[in-house]
């Protein structure tokens, strides 16, 4: 393996029409075209998808672990934000 690593790319796969692209993993590649092909070769060998996105990992802006409390904990005790207080008609399944 080369000492000079190629940049990292995040891979997203749409498994079938109507579903979202979901994060599948990452690949190394020298450019976008190669990233797409590497993603195809590594992540779609077993019919995992019908569409691929690749995004340079460095372009992803992530929340920082230190912000965890301020970002996410306030939601813990606000159960009224979940739509669990409505009575759904029987025809609506799997909400």
């Amino acid at each position: 393996m080369s000492a000079k690593e190629w940049p990292l790319w995040e891979v997203f796969i749409r498994s079938k029409n109507g579903l979202h692209h979901r994060h599948a993993g990452s690949v190394h590649a020298a450019d976008a075209q190669m990233a797409l092909e590497n993603a195809r070769d590594i992540y779609t060998r077993r019919q995992e998808g019908i569409s691929l996105w690749v995004v340079p990992s460095k372009e992803i802006v992530a929340s920082s672990p230190e912000d965890k409390e301020a970002f996410f904990e306030p939601a813990v005790d606000k159960i009224y934000r979940h739509p669990t207080f409505y009575v759904l008609p029987d025809e609506v399944n799997n909400m």
Binding site: M1, S2, W6, V27, H28, A29, A30, Q33, M34, E37, N38, R40, D41, I42, R45
Partner: protein
């Protein structure tokens, strides 16, 4: 002992195609675990498996069309080099990454043209195999051509390695277009156009990609022998020794 002389010209024609994909697939498998990076390692293994899978379709068809006298494995395991009909290019050693890519590129550009002709074959089974294979080979073709351009038009070092590979391998592409008795038979019976019909297009395509890759196109010096006629380099012997040794040691073994 199998009576290989009982094979007819049609069988030889199919072997010319099947042996190409088998030998190249077998050689590419050697890269498994040794690719320059993980991603390319897997990419080459994918291509290897595509090619081996395609070979099997041809050998299975051959087995059926000989009325089961020859089994699929017989074609792989019990023919010696002189009976193999692959073109010389595919038996050239893997060398470095540049050599492997160049060999792949020179083959893929031919393979796609051949399959396009074959997909119009009056032999329905061959046409079906071709249609199925084209989907895979379109990707191989794209993969190898991009790498040729990337490395040829890359750094000074990658350029010179690629130029060496092209200088070494280019001449073996001539063997694709050697017209054998089997080619003449299938062409004159409307089974499939002779490979000679795609020769000009092949060199137009190959040369334009080599130019884009800033690589010099070598002069063609035709090899004096032809793998398609069963005259091989000594390299094929080593490949077959490895391919066949298990079956030779333990005939009909299963696991």
């Amino acid at each position: 002992m199998k009576n290989w002389d009982s094979l007819n010209l049609f069988h030889h024609y199919v072997l010319q195609i099947a042996d190409n994909t088998l030998i190249l697939g077998q050689q590419l498998c050697e890269w498994c675990g040794h690719g320059p990076i993980l991603e390319q390692d897997i990419a080459l293994s994918n291509i290897a498996l595509d090619l081996l899978g395609q070979s099997r379709l041809y050998y299975q068809y051959l087995s059926e069309s000989t009325g089961g006298k020859f089994k699929e494995d017989d074609f792989l395991m019990y023919r010696d080099a002189r009976k193999y009909r692959n073109s010389l290019l595919v038996e050239m050693p893997n060398g470095n990454w540049g050599t492997t890519i160049t060999r792949q590129f020179l083959f893929d550009q031919f393979h796609i043209l051949l399959l396009q002709k074959l997909s119009e074959s009056s032999d329905q089974r061959l046409a079906e195999i071709a249609v199925k294979s084209i989907k895979e080979v379109k990707y191989h073709q794209r993969f190898s051509a991009e790498w040729v351009i990337r490395l040829g038009d890359g750094t000074q070092e990658s350029h010179s390695i690629m130029q060496e590979s092209v200088d070494e391998l280019y001449k073996y592409s001539c063997d694709f277009f050697v017209s054998t008795e089997a080619d003449q038979y299938t062409a004159s019976n409307g089974i499939c156009a002779s490979p000679i019909e795609v020769e000009q297009l092949y060199y137009t395509n190959v040369n334009s990609i080599l130019q884009e890759a800033t690589l010099k196109i070598p002069e063609i010096k035709k090899p004096i022998y032809s793998g398609k006629k069963g005259y091989h380099t000594e390299k094929l012997g080593y490949i077959l020794a490895e391919l066949q040794y298990m079956e030779n040691m333990y005939p009909n073994c299963e696991w």
